[in-house]
Amino acid sequence: MAMAVTSAFSMAALNAALPSGVSSQSRSAGVSLHAATGVSVRRTASVVVRSMLTSTKAAGFQVFNGLRNENALQLRNGASFDVMGLGISNGSKWFAMRHGRKIHRLGRPADQRRALLRGLTTEILRHGRIKTTRARATAMRKYVDHMITLAKGGSPHQRRQALGFLYDKQLVHSLFAEVPERYGERNGGYTRIIRTMPRKGDNAPMAFIELV
């Protein structure tokens, strides 16, 4: 009984307070409130009082929802995922495969990797033929070819570049003296890799790499 009286009172006040355009919607809202408990009805009554005071100024006021966070509870959804999970689609940073990645990492950080490759190219240019793991041999090819290309060029700048890469100064000078004769006709592909038996200690696949 008390509920019916208060709801009837609030309906009339609501219709007066709200702007005309929204009144139909508010009427439906009021109907849904009518089905709610007594606590919610009393809350709307207090809202109505406040809105009565402000409605005279804000004529034609539209409800603005732009800044309201529709994910107010901050549930995780697929768009915010960037870690492994079911939500990844193309366009995220992490791929499960290695497609197109060309750097031989050799299991080392960048500075150690560079030092390792410098040492290995120095040794193959000194001895002509060395035996290492297959991964290192395939990684070395590019740098050995680069050194031989510099030596074929032979200019002082290229000599300086080779001196900055190889660890043996005398080796660079003898390289620059010999390479033009030895590889004058050959265009690229100055090394050859031959696979051999795995290493006993750790069964690492081994290979010979030699200057062609």
Binding site: G128, G153, G154, H173, S174, A177, E178, E181, R182
Partner: protein, 192 residues
């Protein structure tokens, strides 16, 4: 003593051409004004003529020496198929040839400027360095002759010469002095 043969070990002269020895004689080799020091770089044009040899034999005996000059890097250091290539053999060099200023300490006293060409017998004529490919080492090895009447026949060919075998065959033993220099082909145009 190891200190004076370190450059020979670093330059792999000891190992490729000769065995470890103890230097007993001071040997100085000059191409006109340039002295040959271990590992120095000489141009083939500067070495076209035979060099002068100066020995100072500290022992004081009347010894005679044999000098052998070879190139272990013929035709190319990375593929020395003609190792070694013989350039020069001089025998019967007196122990104190060429004069030495260190003996007396008075440069104006040591006027005996005798060149090797008069004080030694050239067994194999001198051919100057002409490296076709790469940087070659040219090694001068001095042996002491066992006795003055010492008969050596010149080798049949210059290529594939072996200093070790030569010394062993004629009973020359270990070298008493050695030095070497580097040389490479002068490119047609210097600045590229």
């Amino acid at each position: 003593m190891p200190r004076s043969i370190d450059p020979l070990i670093v330059g792999k002269v000891i190992g490729d051409v000769i065995d470890t020895f103890v230097p007993r004689v001071d040997m100085a080799i000059h191409y006109s004004t340039r002295q040959v020091t271990n590992g120095c770089q000489l141009k083939p044009s500067a070495t076209a003529q035979a060099p002068e040899i100066q020995l100072s034999d500290k022992s004081g005996d009347n010894n005679y020496y044999t000098l052998v000059m070879t190139d272990p890097d013929a035709p190319s250091p990375s593929e020395p198929s003609l190792r070694e290539w013989l350039h020069w053999i001089v025998t019967d060099i007196p122990g104190n040839s060429g004069g030495s200023e260190t003996n007396t300490g008075f440069p104006w006293l040591s006027e005996q400027a005798t060149s090797t060409s008069s004080s030694g017998r050239e067994l194999v004529p001198y051919i100057g360095p002409r490296p076709p490919i790469g940087i070659h080492r040219y090694i001068f090895v001095l042996f002491k002759q066992p006795s003055q009447s010492f008969l050596i026949s010149p080798p049949a060919a210059r290529n594939n010469f072996s200093t070790r075998n030569f010394a062993a065959y004629y009973g020359l033993g270990l070298p008493v002095a050695a030095t070497y220099c580097n040389s490479q082909k002068e490119p047609a145009s210097r600045n590229r």
